[in-house]
Symmetry: C2
Subunit: 380 residues, 2 copies
């Protein structure tokens, strides 16, 4: 689906009229859209018969983590230990997966501390990291559930699906203090494929993970959880028989990448960067006050430029420097005079949220609250 047809298929819904009491740039979130997105993903998980363990990297917000738990999530996922600490200590999250290897004595010490306050599962994909974790938890007289991360085609981290993963599972399962509770994959590569290929890529990834889990079980290891991730693939991978858990993240807000896959429209993009036109140096060029420090530089697999300006399919955010969004305009495009405001759906909402300290929460176009991005910048 190309941009024009995607746009024509939905209402060009702006979540806030130019409320001049808000200074820009900022990220505003429509609470009704957020709640709808949370409820519908919970329903999708239920319809697939899998547990929902959303990835918190998108919102980094204890408030939104609680909304997800109240909607039925079994726990949360995060990338880094620092995010887990925030979610446990400020969000009351009691069951959390750190979908990232814990490497180094300082982090192992913090992990042991966190185990006093919550159930924590850690992803592992090397024997070295597993051995160090084993030593740490054993010395602390503790036990830790781990997920083996499996590479099903993304070629980022993870042991390769099949024999390599089985061999690593066997080696790890003999280490004291560790329990191989599950296997996981992140089929993020599906989201960057063409819309007509995403289903096949996602299903192949899910099947490779299920097959690997079964081969590990054949070695006498009780692999309980088979966990997949990624919002764009969420309509496909969790339906693969044998998958038990899904970990989508972006769905709470959605973004330009999501809506360009054609499944959702801008009306389901709950989070917008609200920005002001600060210069109009040429008829075909406007400058908005959202640059890479507000939108982040992530590309879109299907859309030119650095985000979608709601209601302006003829405008392209052609370049970003840190504080400047350089917008190229179709002839006679209106709405880009100095002082005008625009709503931008970022290509990738997760890094955009990581650039701001708070989310301005709206209902019916009015500010009802401000929520801190409490786990912003928690890269350690």
């Amino acid at each position: 689906m190309n941009l024009a047809s995607a746009v024509s298929a939905v209402t060009e819904y702006r979540i806030i009229a130019g409320d001049q009491s808000l200074d820009t740039p900022l990220i505003a979130v429509d609470l009704d859209v957020l709640q709808r997105n949370i409820a519908e993903m919970a329903a999708l998980a239920a319809s697939c018969g899998v547990a929902l363990r959303p990835h918190a990297k998108t919102h980094k917000s204890p408030h939104i983590a609680r909304m997800q738990l109240e909607a039925g999530a079994v726990g949360l996922t995060c990338a880094k230990l620092g995010e887990a600490e925030v979610l446990v200590d400020q969000g009351g999250v009691s069951d959390i997966l750190i979908a990232y290897p814990i490497v180094g004595d300082l982090k192992i010490k913090r992990l042991l501390d966190l185990l006093d306050r919550a159930r924590v599962v850690v992803a592992i994909d090397t024997h070295q990291a597993a051995a160090a974790l084993s030593q740490g938890v054993s010395t602390g007289d503790r036990a830790l559930d781990i997920y083996l991360e499996v590479n099903t085609g993304q070629d980022r981290a993870g042991a390769r699906a099949g024999q390599e993963a089985v061999d690593l599972a066997v080696a790890i399962s003999s280490l004291p203090g560790l329990r191989l509770a599950g296997v996981m994959t992140h089929e993020g590569h599906a989201g960057f494929s063409a819309p007509d290929e995403i289903a096949t890529i996602a299903e192949n990834a899910g099947q490779a993970l299920v097959d690997t889990a079964e081969r590990i079980r054949n070695q006498g290891i009780a692999v309980t959880h088979v966990s997949v991730g990624s919002t764009p693939a969420s309509w496909f991978t969790p339906r693969v028989a044998g998958v038990t858990e899904m970990r989508p993240g972006t769905y709470v807000f959605n973004d330009n990448n999501a809506f360009h896959h054609g499944r959702i429209g801008p009306d389901r993009c709950a989070a917008r960067v609200i920005s002001t036109v600060v210069s109009r140096p040429a008829p075909d060029r406007a400058i908005v006050d959202a640059g890479s420090k507000a939108l982040a530089l992530d590309p879109s697999p299907s859309h030119p430029g650095h985000g979608y300006i709601v209601g302006h399919p003829g405008a392209t955010i052609a370049r970003l420097s840190e504080e400047h969004g350089v917008v190229t305009l179709a002839p006679n495009e209106t709405g880009f005079d100095v002082g005008d405001r625009v709503e931008i759906i970022p290509n990738h909402i997760c890094p955009a949220v990581n650039l701001t300290d708070e989310l301005v929460m709206l209902r019916d176009g009015h500010v009802v609250d401000r929520w801190p991005v409490a786990a912003r910048g928690k890269v350690r």
Copy 2:
């Protein structure tokens, strides 16, 4: 100059050995290199006979702003009002240029407040923004110095050099409360040119600005300051006769972009992202814990990948996701076992600094202080 020759020309200087009391990823800064960079740019400005007004966007640190002032800078530059407020209130900066249009009543109100605490100059490039500022400062019974931003080839913001800029200068100069104190340009496009073109592009930009200033003076307007910016162009533009001020930013730390222009080497890159290898999923692939949330996604004009790993010209940071740096390795590359640490010079240090809350300050490889990135995230 290609990568191999740049590397061979300098010492592959690591600023810190694997200090395991520091958790990663983090940004470490070598104080000696920082001080040398600050002193040498001050000497360059003096040798050109121009004032130095460094751009604080690189460090966002009141500490480093003070170091620059102590080395002879006449004041600081920043992009956003929020950065100016931090530098004035926490750094004791008394003279500051906001090199960005101030648009909107909320910002004009804050600007008027800031004028009580410091001399502030504001860049303007449209009549609309100037008229609103004029009304604001006149109502507040104040006066404001402005710089007219001139586009000398970057094609971002700014009135075009020549007649367009002259016309705007004349129109603005009649507005009450504003005084056209100078003209400015950001010749940032020079830094993205080929190394053998940078001098010509920078000098042409400087000359266009000088010529425009002279034409404005011919209209009876006393343009005192002729201000240029950009670290890569700093060896060229300030030498153009008639330029009175330079505003480099990146030079305090330098980065992969700077060193790939061949003027400096990694030994002059004061700030490094210290990162740990967290996975080694294949012989030719390692995962480090610095992703786009630590390095930022800015491309380099001359180097493949997302930064330079000091001492490892055969390693390429091929892909970044938020928490993963995917490093492709030459055959038999050592130093990338799980738990090993690397020092990464980001392509662009400014957005990397904006992602962290503090800088770990080193001398002779030992931590001597931690400085807050106090103006981090001040996009408003």
